[in-house]
C-alpha cells in the first residue's frame, strides 16, 4: 500500500481512540439529559474536578491548604502520606456522590419547573463555581496523574503492522486501555439500566417524569443517582485525559469537544453518543491530516462543530435522537 494510505489509516485509528474519549464525556451529558432534561454544561468541569480530587487524595494534599495557609498564617503542606490508586478512586467517587447530592439539594430542587434554558444557565454557573472550587481546594498547578495504566507505544501493534505493511503504526497503550475501559463502562451501564431495579427506575424517569412519579419512584433519589453516575463517568474521563495530558484547566474544555458529539448523535441516545464520538474523533483527525496543511492547521478547534452544524441542517434531531413532535 502507498505510504499516504497507511498514514491515513494510522491517523484514523488514532482518531478512533480520541473518539472513544469524546464519547465518554458525551455519555455523561446524555445520562443527565435523559433523566432530568438538563443540559449539564458542567460535565467537563466535573471531569476536571474529579481528576483534581483524585490526584489530591493520592498525593495526600490537605484540601484548601493554600487558603488555610493564607487566612490562618499556617504552613501546611500535605498530610505526608500517599493513598493507593484504587482507594483514592473510591474516595473520589464518594466525593462525587456528595457533590451530586449537594447539587440536587441546593440547586436543582429549587429550579424544578423552570425553563430548560434557565437550567442550562444554572449549570454554567455551576461549572464556574466548580472550577473555582477545584482550584481552591487542590491548587491550580498542572499535576501528573498516574493510576498505573500502561503508557507509551504499543509494540505488538507496531511490530505486527510493520511485518504486514512495512510500516509500524504508532498507537498509544493508554488509548487502547481507554477504549477497553470505555467499552466496559458502557457495557456496565447497559447491564445496570436493563437488569437492576434502580436502572429500571432510571429508564422510567427518562421516559416520563409524571408517570414515574405516579408509580412511586422518587425523583430526588433518581436525580442524585444520575448525577452520581455522571460523576463516575466524569471521573473515568478525567482519569483518561489526566493520564494523557496531565490534570489542568484545559481538561474542562473537553466538554466543549463533547458538544458536537452530542449534536451529531442526538441528546437522548447513548449509542448516538458513542457513534457520534467515533465519527467526530476520526473526522477531525482525518480532516486535519488531509485538509489541515492547506488552510494553516489547527482545524481541530472548529471542524467538529461545523460538521455537526452541517449535519443538523439535514437532520435536526441528530443521528439517533428522538424526533421532536411539537404541538401548539
Amino acid at each position: 500500500m502507498p505510504d499516504q494510505v497507511l498514514f491515513a489509516i494510522e491517523v484514523m485509528l488514532n482518531g478512533l481512540m480520541a473518539g472513544v474519549l469524546y464519547a465518554l464525556v458525551a455519555l455523561g451529558f446524555v445520562l443527565i439529559f435523559k433523566a432530568s432534561g438538563i443540559f449539564n454544561y458542567a460535565q467537563g468541569v466535573m471531569a476536571l474536578f474529579a481528576a483534581l480530587t483524585l490526584v489530591g487524595i493520592m498525593e495526600g494534599q490537605v484540601p484548601f491548604e493554600h487558603l488555610i495557609n493564607v487566612v490562618f498564617g499556617t504552613e501546611i503542606h500535605g498530610f505526608g502520606w500517599t493513598v493507593p490508586a484504587l482507594l483514592a478512586i473510591i474516595l473520589t467517587m464518594v466525593v462525587m456522590v456528595i457533590f451530586a447530592w449537594l447539587v440536587n439539594k441546593l440547586v436543582l430542587r429549587h429550579l424544578v419547573n423552570q425553563e430548560p434554558i434557565i437550567l442550562f444557565m444554572a449549570t454554567i454557573g455551576l461549572a464556574y463555581f466548580l472550577e473555582g472550587l477545584g482550584d481552591m481546594m487542590w491548587g491550580s498547578d498542572i499535576k501528573a496523574l498516574d493510576v498505573g495504566l500502561p503508557q507509551g507505544l504499543n509494540t505488538w501493534i507496531d511490530e505486527t503492522t510493520f511485518n504486514l505493511f512495512g510500516y509500524g503504526f504508532y498507537i498509544d497503550n493508554l488509548d487502547i486501555s481507554a477504549a477497553i475501559i470505555a467499552a466496559l463502562l458502557v457495557a456496565g451501564l447497559v447491564v445496570f439500566s436493563q437488569y437492576t431495579k434502580q436502572g429500571r427506575a432510571l429508564r422510567a424517569v427518562a421516559d416520563d417524569h409524571q408517570a414515574a412519579l405516579s408509580v412511586g419512584i422518587s425523583l430526588n433519589y433518581i436525580w442524585v443517582l444520575t448525577w452520581s453516575i455522571a460523576g463516575f463517568v466524569a471521573l473515568v474521563a478525567g482519569i483518561m485525559w489526566g493520564a494523557k495530558s496531565g490534570v489542568q484547566f484545559s481538561l474542562s474544555l473537553i466538554a466543549l469537544k463533547a458538544l458536537p458529539v452530542l449534536m451529531l448523535g442526538g441528546f437522548t441516545s447513548i449509542p448516538g453518543a458513542i457513534v457520534g464520538g467515533l465519527i467526530i474523533g476520526v473526522g477531525e483527525k482525518l480532516f486535519e491530516f488531509l485538509v489541515g496543511p492547506l488552510v494553516g492547521g489547527a482545524t481541530e478547534n472548529w471542524f467538529a462543530y461545523v460538521l455537526a452544524l452541517i449535519f443538523l441542517v439535514f437532520r435536526p434531531q441528530g443521528l439517533f435522537g428522538e424526533r421532536l413532535i411539537e404541538r401548539v
Partner: protein
C-alpha cells in the same frame, strides 16, 4: 409617596405609547442622561474610564445586542465573542484601508458587516432550535476565532498576529491610539450606547419586536398567526449581531487598542455577555445595563476587597472570584430567574403603593 401615577392623565395616543409613562421615570431618565453627558466627562479620570466606565458602556452595547437575540427572540447564542471579533477585525481593516473616513462611520460599518456574518450563522436557526442551536452557535465562535488567527490578511500580515488601532480623531480629538483622553473616549462610547439603547427600545416595542417575542414564546403558534419565522429570526440575528459588532469594534479600537483574538474574544467573552443578560434580565433593555454594570463591577469590587482589603494572593482571589460569580449566577436563577430588571419592576410596584399598600 412621590413615585405615583395618580393624576397623570394620558389624553392622546402619543402619550399612551411613550417609553416612560410615569412622569418621575421620565425625569429620572433625562436627569441620568444629563449627568452622564454633562457632569461625568469633567470628573472622569483614567482609572474610572478604563476600569469601570468604558467596559461598562461597551459591554452594555453587547448585552443589548445579545438580549435582542436571546431575550426577545429566544434564540440562545454562545457565539457573542466570535461576533465581537468580527466587529473588531472589520473595524481594523476599515481603519487601515480607509484612513480618511471618520472612525464613527467605521464602527457603524463594522456593525453592518457583523450583521451580515450574524445572519449567515443564523441560517441554521431555521432548522434547529433550543440547545442544538446554542451548540451550533459555538461553531461560529470557534470558526471565527480560528479564521482571524490563521488568515494573515485579517491582521494585515503583522508579525505578532495582533491587531492594534492606529490613531484616529473626531473633531480633532483622538479617540483611538495612545494619546486619548478619558473624557473623549468616554463620550464617544456613550454616544454609541445612547443611540443603541434608543434604537433597541424602539425596535423591540414595534412590530418587529412583537414578531420576535411571538417567535420566542412559541414559534409554531407565531407561524400560524402569520409571523414569518425566516424573517423574524434572521432580523433578530442581524440586529443583534449589528450591536455586538459595534461593541466588538469599540472594545478593540477605543478600549483595548491592541487585540489578540483568542484572548480577547474567546468563549469566555460569550459566556460573560450571556451572564450579563441573565443576571440583568432577559428581554429587558434596562436589564442589559444592570447586568453589564453588575458583571463589570463585581470583579473590580472583589479584587479590591480580597487582594486590596484582605491581602490575599491574586491567584487565590481569582479562584474565589470564579466561585462567587458561579454561585451568584445560580443564586440569581433560583431567587429571580427574570433578573435584576424584574427586581426593579417589583420595587416600582411597591413604591407606587407605598406607604399605603392596601
Amino acid at each position: 409617596m412621590i413615585y405615583r401615577e395618580a393624576g397623570q392623565y394620558r389624553t392622546s395616543y402619543l402619550d399612551d405609547g411613550q417609553t416612560f409613562p410615569i412622569r418621575l421615570d421620565r425625569w429620572a431618565h433625562w436627569l441620568l442622561i444629563a449627568v452622564a453627558v454633562l457632569v461625568v466627562p469633567f470628573i472622569i479620570n483614567d482609572y474610572w474610564a478604563n476600569a469601570i466606565l468604558l467596559p461598562f458602556l461597551i459591554y452594555a452595547i453587547a448585552a443589548l445586542g445579545l438580549n435582542i437575540l436571546t431575550g426577545y427572540c429566544g434564540q440562545v447564542s454562545l457565539g457573542t465573542g466570535g461576533f465581537m471579533a468580527v466587529g473588531a477585525y472589520a473595524c481594523y481593516k476599515l481603519m487601515t484601508s480607509f484612513p480618511d473616513i471618520s472612525i464613527a462611520i467605521h464602527v457603524v460599518l463594522a456593525g453592518l458587516i457583523t450583521a451580515i456574518v450574524g445572519i449567515l450563522f443564523g441560517l441554521p436557526s431555521l432548522r434547529i432550535k433550543g440547545f442544538y442551536l446554542a451548540v451550533a452557535t459555538l461553531a461560529a465562535q470557534f470558526f471565527l476565532v480560528w479564521l482571524f488567527n490563521r488568515v494573515p490578511w485579517f491582521y494585515n500580515y503583522s508579525a505578532s498576529g495582533q491587531i492594534s488601532a492606529p490613531e484616529r480623531t473626531i473633531f480633532g480629538l483622538p479617540v483611538t491610539g495612545p494619546e486619548t483622553s478619558a473624557a473623549v473616549t468616554y463620550l464617544f462610547c456613550l454616544a454609541f450606547v445612547l443611540a443603541s439603547a434608543w434604537i433597541c427600545r424602539n425596535l423591540t416595542r414595534g412590530a418587529l419586536g412583537r414578531k420576535w417575542m411571538a417567535i420566542r414564546d412559541m414559534d409554531i403558534a407565531a407561524e400560524i398567526i402569520g409571523v414569518n419565522p425566516l424573517h423574524a429570526k434572521l432580523t433578530a440575528f442581524g440586529v443583534s449581531s449589528f450591536f455586538v459588532g459595534i461593541a466588538g469594534a469599540l472594545f478593540f479600537s477605543v478600549y483595548l487598542g491592541a487585540v489578540e483574538v483568542g484572548e480577547a474574544f474567546g468563549i469566555n467573552k460569550s459566556f460573560l455577555v450571556l451572564f450579563m443578560i441573565i443576571i440583568g434580565g432577559l428581554g429587558s433593555i434596562l436589564g442589559s445595563f444592570l447586568g453589564a454594570a453588575f458583571m463589570v463591577l463585581l470583579p473590580v469590587f472583589l479584587k479590591n476587597v480580597l487582594t486590596g482589603g484582605l491581602g490575599w494572593p491574586t491567584d487565590l482571589a481569582a479562584h474565589l472570584e470564579f466561585m462567587i460569580v458561579g454561585g451568584l449566577i445560580v443564586f440569581f436563577l433560583i431567587v429571580e430567574p427574570h433578573g435584576l430588571a424584574q427586581l426593579w419592576r417589583l420595587l416600582k410596584e411597591k413604591l407606587r403603593l407605598w406607604p399605603f399598600p392596601h
